[in-house]
Symmetry: C2
Subunit: 313 residues, 2 copies
């Protein structure tokens, strides 16, 4: 095992290419990558993750690589797009061993594979320990879901459940005895199929992913749509592990479900009169509130309405 410095960029790239799956187009070997045609509009996003901020205790390098891909694939999913290709700008300390880099790339490739995509290219440079991943995808003819289309009267809903990533984090960070699943934190699963189904339904008026937490997502939709929101706490779908962390550490469930990021669910609004077309799509979701006049999301606790804050952590 040698350090990246000793190994050199050329050798490092050759080894990475022997680990990841070869993409169908003209993949990582030339100045740029050649990806297949996209059927209309191209959807793209970039997001970076770093050792310092996105590498919780207990995470493996493979899971870090998975996460670098997942945050971006989730951003595509929030628009209703499916990933086709990833690019990875890898910035790692020169004294890091080579093995962790291969593990990160294998994790990234595994996440891409799960959603039918490939790593098409990348770049390796000395740095502090960060991956800036880019995801490029296609709507396959569907209309994109935006943050800006919510209207007063729409229902507010969320896919899956909330708070499991936070519960996983607290359970690793503070060590508790109860059983808390870690996969929501370590290998988050972007809601690609759900995003495609939601955008295909024609019912959804706005959508965002919850990687920054539900409160932050709700604020983004309210800001972009010029609306308010009422979120009813009793309707929030509680994720696995939330109860255990709450009872063992005293952290409130709202803290984990509303203010903590890392859940890769989709928050969306839809026209109530089109709910039938949502049910037709077989997407699992919970209605958690409604869109109102105003400009900010509110929490409704059994009829008492307060502006949604930032949480305590």
């Amino acid at each position: 095992m040698v350090s990246l410095q000793e190994l050199g960029e050329r050798e490092l790239i050759r080894n990475i290419l022997s680990i990841i799956r070869r993409p169908p187009g003209l993949g990582p070997c030339d100045d740029s990558a050649l990806m297949p045609p996209m059927d209309g509009d191209v959807v793209a996003c970039t997001d970076s993750v770093s050792f310092e901020r996105h590498f919780p205790k207990g995470m493996t390098y493979k899971e870090f690589g998975w996460t670098a891909a997942a945050v971006n694939i989730s951003d595509l999913a929030a628009m209703g797009a499916e990933p086709v290709g990833l690019l990875a700008a890898v910035m790692m300390p020169g004294d890091l061993d080579e093995r962790p880099v291969y593990d990160m790339m294998a994790g990234m490739d595994r996440c891409a594979e799960t959603f039918g995509a490939h790593i098409y290219g990348g770049d390796t440079k000395p740095g502090q320990g960060a991956i800036a991943c880019t995801a490029i995808g296609s709507l396959r003819g569907r209309r994109p879901m935006l943050r800006s289309g919510a209207r007063p009267g729409d229902a507010v809903a969320v896919t899956g459940s909330l708070g499991s990533a936070a519960a996983g984090f607290f359970s690793m960070d503070r060590g508790i005895t109860g059983d808390v699943p870690l996969s929501p934190l370590m290998t988050p699963v972007p809601r690609v199929d759900e995003g495609a189904a939601l955008s295909g339904s024609g019912a959804v008026t706005s959508c965002i992913d919850l990687s920054d937490g539900l409160a932050e997502g709700a604020r983004s939709i309210c800001g972009a749509s010029n609306v308010g929101m009422d979120i009813h706490t009793e309707f929030l779908p509680e994720g696995d592990g939330v109860e255990t962390v709450h009872s063992e550490l005293g952290i409130t469930k709202e803290e984990m479900m509303l203010y903590w990021g890392g859940d890769y669910e989709l928050l969306f609004t839809f026209s109530k009169d089109k709910i039938g077309s949502l049910y037709d799509r077989d997407v699992e979701f919970s209605i958690i509130g409604k869109v109102t006049e105003g400009d900010a999301p509110h929490i409704n606790r059994g009829g008492t309405r307060t502006v949604m804050g930032n949480g305590r952590y």
Copy 2:
């Protein structure tokens, strides 16, 4: 003027959006960006630049931002593609003032504008001072130029001239009295039009950009094409400033023209019997050698042939 930490991500992004041109599609505001259809295959690449390695003495933040875009646009140009959109993952220290970030983004946008592209999205995170830019572009129906098509007997050629970026670097770094142009180093101009013309000519058998230097580029083509090369030093087109730096600092011209990166010219090979179609395209280039059997580039100095090394710096 406040630091990024004090300002917060939301405000920072809002300010950046007021500085860069708004793209024609659905630009930086949603989870992902919606870019126009690409006419067939999509070409994409990513490359990161950092304060530590890509910020020579005398460079401004605007020029650093320009460079972040230019290195990627140059990678598209090397394939014959034209840029459509850029994404920017910006990783900056929290104690940095906000102004430099706006300057970087303005510089990046200026570079995009020069080549008919827009910044479509991005991400800001705390970090050590790096930008991972992604460029997405289109071949507009042309065939891509690769590194792997060179054949023995082909001519080796280069656009523009060589060594000016190195000359600019040495002149800033060591301070000399003679006149040396700095723009080749500070605002390198990717050869987008030339790349498009070369790929459209049907004569070119391989191509690479020279951001890592001519020796490195030649090695990449030789490796990918399984060929050797003879580069004749007397044919190398000498860039502005090379003579001055050579005479004042004693740095050899070969060092600046062959081994130093930062020139954004294109190195390419072509079938000699199709040279007419190259001349028809009005691209300025110099023939500097020929493709041979073998597996490595050689330097030919007046008939004496030696394997191309790595330079002294």
